[in-house]
């Protein structure tokens, strides 16, 4: 009997399910950052708003990268449904803490898929996901750097504006290129 699955599909079927879940998670993350950007915009925090708009775009790019990886290798992808986006935040600090938690959850999810790749001997997908391991390290660093600013700067009154201006620097500091 021919191995028709393998002839058509490079990715292990169980890993395919996990990758489709990851697509959904990246889409959810993109939408969550868009809500954060909107909150910042409304509250006059222009640099933070810009940061989260860009963050939202990046998450969509992460999603598309997986999307193409699956389709290029014979799998099927499903355009994700995104729901339950939180738009209520008490402070900018809360937003960055939420962002860090979200990134940590994604890091764990990526690591989990890699463990499964090893179980299923899907080395191609593991290799593909290594890019995400590094990316997640950088994402976490960026969010931690933002949170550190709240420890250093008193955000009452004009301090919050001062902090907002520093936000444009955190990405470059975290990812020197």
């Amino acid at each position: 009997m021919k191995d028709l699955v393998r002839q058509n599909l490079l990715i292990h079927v169980d890993i395919l399910d996990l990758l489709n879940k990851q697509i959904k998670q990246e889409a959810q993350s993109s939408a969550a950052y868009l809500a954060m950007a909107s909150w910042c915009d409304h509250n006059g925090l222009v640099y933070s708003a810009e940061f989260f708009y860009e963050q939202s775009t990046e998450e969509r790019e992460h999603m598309m990268k997986i999307f193409h990886f699956i389709n290029d290798n014979g799998g099927t992808t499903y355009s994700p449904e995104v729901s339950n986006i939180n738009h209520d935040f008490a402070s900018l600090e809360e937003i960055f803490e939420t962002a860090l938690d979200q990134e940590i959850a994604i890091t764990k999810s990526i690591h989990n898929i890699i463990y499964e790749c090893r179980n299923k001997r899907d080395l191609t997908t593991e290799n593909f996901l290594q890019w995400y391991v590094k990316e997640q390290m950088e994402e976490e660093q960026t969010m931690r750097r933002a949170l550190e600013l709240f420890d250093l700067i008193n955000t009452e009154n004009v301090g919050l504006r001062f902090l907002d201006e520093r936000i444009k620097e955190i990405r470059e500091e975290a990812n020197p290129e």
Binding site: M1, D3, L4, V5, Q7, N8, V13, L16, T76
Partner: protein, 101 residues
């Protein structure tokens, strides 16, 4: 034609020459490419079977279209559960086949 897996009501097989899969639904046999089979598997796995059991899905039926709407099926709760075991069983058997091949 090689039989891959047989569940209570249905049977999955593959044809090496045409490189296609076949599911025998009893009254009708449908041909699938792998992509179509994966889409069918996804459709089955997205069914909220809880709704069948807690009475939210009052009629206990699912309408499933196959292969880009070439076919339309209505399945009851038992058939859905059986189809889930069919696809899981079929992919498991194919994995075993691929390991020993």
């Amino acid at each position: 034609m090689n039989t891959i897996y047989t569940s209570k009501y249905f049977a999955a097989s593959q044809c090496d020459n045409s490189r296609r899969f076949y599911i025998d639904f009893g009254h009708k046999t449908v041909k699938f490419s792998l992509c179509q089979l994966l889409a069918f598997r996804h459709r089955l796995k997205s069914i909220d079977i809880e709704q069948h059991l807690n009475g939210e899905n009052t009629h206990g039926l699912e309408v499933v279209s196959l292969c880009n709407r070439e076919h339309l099926f209505v399945f009851n709760t038992l058939e859905i559960l059986d189809l889930l075991s069919l696809v899981d069983g079929a992919f498991a058997m194919m994995e075993i086949n691929s390991v020993i091949a």
